[in-house]
Amino acid sequence: MSSADAPRIVLEGVGRTYGEGRAGAVRALDTIDLEIPPGQLLSVEGPSGCGKTTLLNLLGLIDTPTRGELRWNGTPIGHLGERERTRLRLSGVGFIFQRFYLLPTLTARENVELPMRAARVSPGDRHQRTSQLLESVGLSERADAYPHQLSGGEEQRVAVARALANRPGLLLADEPTGELDSANTEAILQLLIRSRAESGATLVLVTHNPNVSARADRHIRMRDGLVVGDGGGR
């Protein structure tokens, strides 16, 4: 299983302000200087509203910084056009959300196939890879179920399979176990860690769960839009 090479990610003075120019401007991210080497498992912690999701949105190219520059392997990509960023997201980034966010009108299989369909993977390859992914998350039997017919743990496993579909070099998980019980939390965590190990992808994980962050190579701690702590495993 070959992966898109994980990029070396560098943030130089990156900031994000909402509602800029108006009275009530919110500095969601103040000034972030950060370097994430390829293949790292990075956990991001911090109180609610400190800017964790904002940081992940910038890393995943679904939002653009209002200050500073974001580089992948030295190339500035923070301000690319929408089309270019869409292309990079499709091939290079896998998202896992707290509330799963499967498309409700698609079956588990169709959800996993979606990124491959968008990337114009041939139907044969698509089908094969989807079956593989569903098997690896233990859901071969549930392939034709719709999200409303799945449990939360099952939904999140489908979401992980979907994030892995195009073998992205960067996996971004925003509190992926926030809505799961401890058994499911453990299962999803194992799955993410195993997938990262197999693919060599970088994994950035936002979590409040100390058991989760305990598995990370590196922890960053945020407050008020700033990185206030950065260190190795505890």
Partner: protein, 416 residues
């Protein structure tokens, strides 16, 4: 494996049904207007073109065209004129052996001239020659004196004959008033049919009698007391041209102006002019129908745009997720356009079918006048196809509005 539809799709189905109903309704209006409107004017034009005469002299007023017999003879003398047929239409009361007065429209004609100006439809319905005795109506008319013997013959339309209980060979009294004693007894000497639709002129009357008999009956004929010309009225004179001239607008115009020279104060119009007038009126109406229809269609498409935008709104989250994953905008747009095309195509199809069904229903249950008009409806496949394609094409505009909205959603906001 359970393949129950997800709730989101069930929710969409209701929206889809309502949208399709709205588009179908907005499409059925032009289908009804254009097919019935077009059919009625087509029928009028057909009637004019099948008239069997090309020029009509007409004058309004109580006496109408005065000196009708003499005028017909003068018109006959103009080159290329095959026949000139004065016609007087008067409502009188008919008294059959049983029953009271029955109002009926009677046409007075010169039998031979009438036959010479029949169109194909009438030729099939009337006996030839008309069994009204004096073919030229000259004996009774007697050069303006009305002193000759009247035939007192009447041709009766088959429905009238059937409802009156009379038969060919019996007689009935025709009276200018509801007073039977003021009337004259006519012999039923023949019967004529009526065309399948009764919007034409032929079916409007129930009886045909010699012109001079009718004039005398209703007091529009009288010998002149003072040596002035006698009263000898008709409503119109229908003029048929001979052979090639009948199809030649220049010849028709020449004859019409020659007739106008004879009767400077009467209206002289050629049926080709009338066809042009009907066409012009019909195209004005068609334009009006199209304007009305485009209002309906616009409302239908605004509804479609609204539903598509609404759908984008309800799928905000999903669209945000799809875009976060890297699904390109064109795929998302494609989904919206496909939905728009499908809804509008089904809606337009059902609208066409529904419009046709509505016309068919009107033909059976619309009340007399509506049933007649609906019966003339012409469903032009090109018009219907054009309408359908137009609606489907316009649905792209509705889809474009929704697509634009979908692609402008902020992804982080849609995901929150």
């Amino acid at each position: 494996m359970n393949r129950a539809r997800p709730p989101a799709l069930r929710h969409h189905r209701l929206q889809a049904i309502l949208t399709i109903a709205a588009i179908a309704t907005s499409v059925s209006l032009p289908v009804v207007l254009l097919s019935v409107g077009g059919g009625v004017s087509e029928h009028e034009i057909e009637q004019l073109q099948n008239a069997g005469y090309e020029i009509v002299v007409s004058a309004s007023g109580i006496h109408g065209v005065n000196q009708a017999h003499t005028l017909a003879i003068s018109i006959d003398r103009i080159a290329s004129v095959a026949a000139a047929s004065p016609v007087l239409s008067v409502a009188v009361d008919a008294f059959a052996a049983s029953g009271g007065p029955q109002p009926v429209l009677v046409e007075g004609v010169l039998p031979a001239s009438f036959t010479a100006t029949e169109g194909p439809t009438e030729r099939a319905l009337f006996p030839a020659p008309l069994p009204l005795g004096d073919g030229s109506d000259s004996v009774h008319y007697a050069q303006g004196s009305y002193a000759g013997a009247a035939t007192w013959s009447v041709l009766v339309s088959s429905p009238f004959l059937a409802s009156s209980g009379e038969h060919v060979g019996s007689s009935l009294v025709l009276s200018p008033t509801a007073d039977r004693t003021a009337g004259v007894r006519f012999n039923i000497t023949g019967v004529f049919g009526v065309p399948p639709t009764s919007l034409g002129p032929t079916a409007a009357f129930g009886m045909v009698v010699p012109l001079s008999d009718l004039q005398l009956l209703v007091g529009l004929a009288a010998a002149s007391a003072s040596g002035a010309p006698p009263l000898d009225a008709a409503d119109t004179v229908q003029v048929a041209l001979a052979g090639g001239a009948a199809g030649d607008p220049a010849q028709i115009a020449r004859v019409a102006s020659a007739i106008q020279g004879l009767v400077p104060f009467y209206g002289v119009s050629s049926l080709t002019d009338q066809v042009d007038h009907v066409r012009a009126a019909s195209s004005v109406l068609t334009g009006f129908y199209l304007a009305l229809s485009s209002v309906a269609l616009t409302v239908g498409l605004i509804f479609l745009a609204l539903v598509l935008v609404r759908r984008v709104e309800s799928q905000r989250r999903s669209i945000g997720v799809a875009r976060a994953i890297g699904v390109p905008g064109r795929l998302i747009a494609g989904g919206i356009v496909r939905a728009g095309l499908m809804l509008s195509a089904i809606g337009a199809g059902l609208g066409v079918v529904g419009g046709i069904a509505l016309v068919l229903i009107l033909q059976r249950f619309g009340g007399p006048a509506v049933e007649l008009a609906a019966g003339l409806a012409v469903f032009d496949p090109r018009t219907l196809l054009g309408l359908t394609l137009g609606v489907v094409a316009l649905s792209l505009a509705a889809s474009a509005i929704a697509t634009r909205y979908a692609l402008r959603l902020s992804i982080p906001e849609a995901l929150r």
